[in-house]
């Protein structure tokens, strides 16, 4: 990066380079911060006169990916579980499959096979398979756990990269970071798009990511509205096809499916030289899980009035459980660090 600092040709691509130029020597904390500012657009790699096979062998996207993988391991909690990042694909698969089996076993044990394979019609059919308490309390606990871990990680990251507690209340910086994050400002590579999957410029990756991100938000909104209906209005799932939770959930699910398939396809085509293998596996595990979750959600919607509903519900809930249990220990974590890095950047750039 001393080379980047002496060259500076890439200054206009993203936030990493202007931030880099604020420093002459790079501490480990600086590197952590810079790595999480990097959106892996790879524009700098293809533009670099010093990229391999040049003897300087500058490969910023690869270095940054490796450092990000380190960040995820280092700032998570409890530290003993950081190993889950190392063998992420295996961990995600095992935990998810275990969740499905566990739910299946519980359903069989407490509800019986008849319930599982019966055709349920009318109201509150889901709860006939998985009781209301189990379907609300357990996910809430998992979500709260994940949220707590992310708060811990964010605070650790903030402290490590030299942030003060007071700065965490900087609303202007948060606003700018939110704008940058929601617009994926730095996947635009200064207007050119990403060099992704390979040498030529494209905005496909950004649009796929948008589909995944906003699809996820829609599904989140769907769940929230459903919870509201349930708790405050007393309407129990399943909801009609044209109700807000179903429409939002379906649109979000379709977005997620297209987005994840798109990103997986891009990854399969992508140039491996500027990539870090462990990060790539983490990405794939997360994307596959997101895809399966939204896919089974939609299938469940389609077949909810058939005898397959029980099985589909169990599989879908297992996947959701897997997704949220592994969230703090997988690629989901990038949301926390990227956002924190963007806030830090907003604060830092205002000073100069």
């Amino acid at each position: 990066m001393t080379i980047c600092n002496a060259c500076r040709y890439c200054e206009g691509y993203c936030a990493v380079f202007p931030a880099m130029e604020q420093r002459r020597v790079f501490t480990k904390a600086d590197l952590t911060y810079l790595a999480n500012l990097c959106f892996d657009c790879r524009d700098c790699y293809y533009a670099c006169q010093y990229a391999p096979p040049h003897e300087f062998g500058v490969n910023i996207p690869k270095l940054m990916s490796e450092l990000r993988a380190d960040t995820y391991r280092e700032f998570t909690w409890p530290t003993i579980l950081s190993g889950l990042f190392k063998h992420n694909a295996v961990a995600v698969t095992v935990i998810t499959v275990a969740s499905i089996i566990l739910i299946l076993a519980l359903v069989l044990l407490f509800q019986g096979a008849n319930v599982l394979f019966a055709t349920h019609l009318g109201e509150a059919t889901f709860y006939r398979v998985v009781p209301f308490a189990a379907m609300t309390v357990v996910p809430s606990l998992i979500a709260l756990y994940g949220f707590a871990i992310f708060i811990i990680s964010a605070v650790r990251f903030w402290r490590e990269t030299g942030g003060t507690p007071l700065e965490m209340l900087d609303s202007a910086a948060f606003w700018r970071a939110t704008k940058d994050a929601f617009g994926l400002a730095y996947m635009k590579g200064g207007g050119a798009g990403c060099n992704y999957p390979a040498e030529s410029f494209s905005s496909t990756r950004m649009w796929c990511h948008h589909l995944v991100f906003y699809g996820f938000l829609l599904d989140f909104a769907s769940t929230t509205i459903a919870a509201f209906y349930d708790h405050f209005l007393g309407w129990q799932a399943p909801y009609p096809y044209f109700s807000a939770p179903v429409v939002l959930g379906a649109v979000g699910g379709i977005g997620l499916m297209i987005g994840t398939v798109g990103l997986l396809y891009l990854k399969s085509q992508s140039d491996r030289t500027p990539a870090d293998a462990s990060m790539l596996k983490m990405d794939v595990a997360f994307l596959v899980l997101l895809f399966l979750t939204s896919f089974t959600g939609l299938v469940l919607l389609a077949f909810r009035e058939t005898s397959a509903m029980g099985t589909l519900l169990v599989i879908h809930l297992g996947l959701v459980a897997g997704l949220f249990i592994t969230a703090p220990y997988g690629k989901f974590a990038h949301v926390v660090y990227r956002y924190a890095a963007l806030v830090r950047y907003a604060i830092e750039q205002r000073r100069i």
Binding site: T2, I3, N5, A6, C7, R8, Y9, C10, E11, G12, Y13, P18, E21, R24, D43, C44, Y46, A47, C48, Q49, Y50, A51, P52, P53, H54, E55, F56, G190, G191, A192, E199, S200
Partner: protein, 466 residues
Amino acid sequence: MTDSTAQCDVLVVGGGNAALCAAITARRAGASVLILETATKDFRGGNSRHTRDIRYMHRAATEFVTHAYGEEEFWQDLLGVTGGATDERLARLTIRESETLADWMAGNGVRWQKPLRGTLHLARSNLFMLGGGKAMINAYYHIAAQSGVEIRYETEVQELEIAGSEFVSALAARNGECERIRSKAIVLAAGGFEANIPWLKEYWGEAAENFIIRGTPNNQGRMLKELLRHGVKPVGDPRGCHAVALDARAPKFDGGIVTRLDSVPFGIVVNREGKRFYDEGEDFWPKRYAIWGKLIAEQPQQIAYSIIDSKALPHFMPSVFPPVEAASIPELATALAIEPRALGAVVDEFNRSVNGGGRFNPGALDDCRTRALEPPKSHWARPIEAPPFYGYPLRAGITFTYLGVTVDERAQVIMGDERPAKNIFAAGEMMAGNILGKGYLAGFGLTIGSVFGRIAGREAARCAGF
């Protein structure tokens, strides 16, 4: 050797900016175009891959340039650096034609960025490519391939067959296989000869062994030599080369921009005998860095050392190699292998002669000067006294050579009898000496290459019947 029938309308020799501008233009005119690039795909683009900005004429400020830069001012700047070693007709043509470059380049996939930090002196006249020259070259190759230009890498032209003043065929080698390629017209945009050390030695003697070549090792000047052998009229001082002060630890080739060193005006420069040899603060560094290559090349063993103290460190861009650091001047001398007593004496003498009068200001000619010192230091002279002390070893770094072939306004090569060659065109570094016979203007090499690349492409296509 296979005497194949490989043929095209326009053959382009070279793979840098000028070559690509010519190829794209000729292809758009309808000609079939073949590019022969010596480098591998990774290293394609010659010296253009190391560039970052282009000087162009413009009538108003834009998002990316801060003020207008008109023809007269451009011309005066050129006149200033060349001291008149320029062909006004071709120079004014280049300046006028440069006005359309910004749009043309953007139309071919080049993107701009705000002037880089630390380059404010160019913010008015020059456009900076987003990602630099390699990004620009990538864009051009993409467009060229898309529009149907055939590109062959690792293919070097060995010989040109020229009958009288008419190009007949080129002998191209690839993986040890030779092929004869015929075309109706040829554009030569294959750069200078700065990477050809034996050729440099003809003018510089053994000193050339210690030169660092900032750009591609492929600029061997083979095409230049071929044209001169066939009686084309040369232009420019054969001895002339753009030589700057570089960190001596730079790679022999392709070190590009990061090996340059901007510390000189903030300290003193000595040779290995510990003697100063030139005014380090004569003028702003961007106006002086290009004379230091020659100055260093004239020192014993072609090496010099920039000596600064800790006060100076924040005033210049960090370079890629860390400075050699020491707690005292004698220790620094030992670390750099300079005669310790000589360095101690010269630093003492320098410090004593610093006239504390002016107020140090790195952004202005501040008149912080030495008194009764030979050679003097005219600006930014401050005692070297605050440890730790730092030293950078310096060598001469060659950017390009000035020798080229004479061309006319149509980029047509002029023969020794002053008549234009029938179907031979030249662009870029090979003919830049017509316009830039001496000195340098930042970003002007790309201007000449782009303007004459387009002209050469257009005229070669016309010559081929399009």
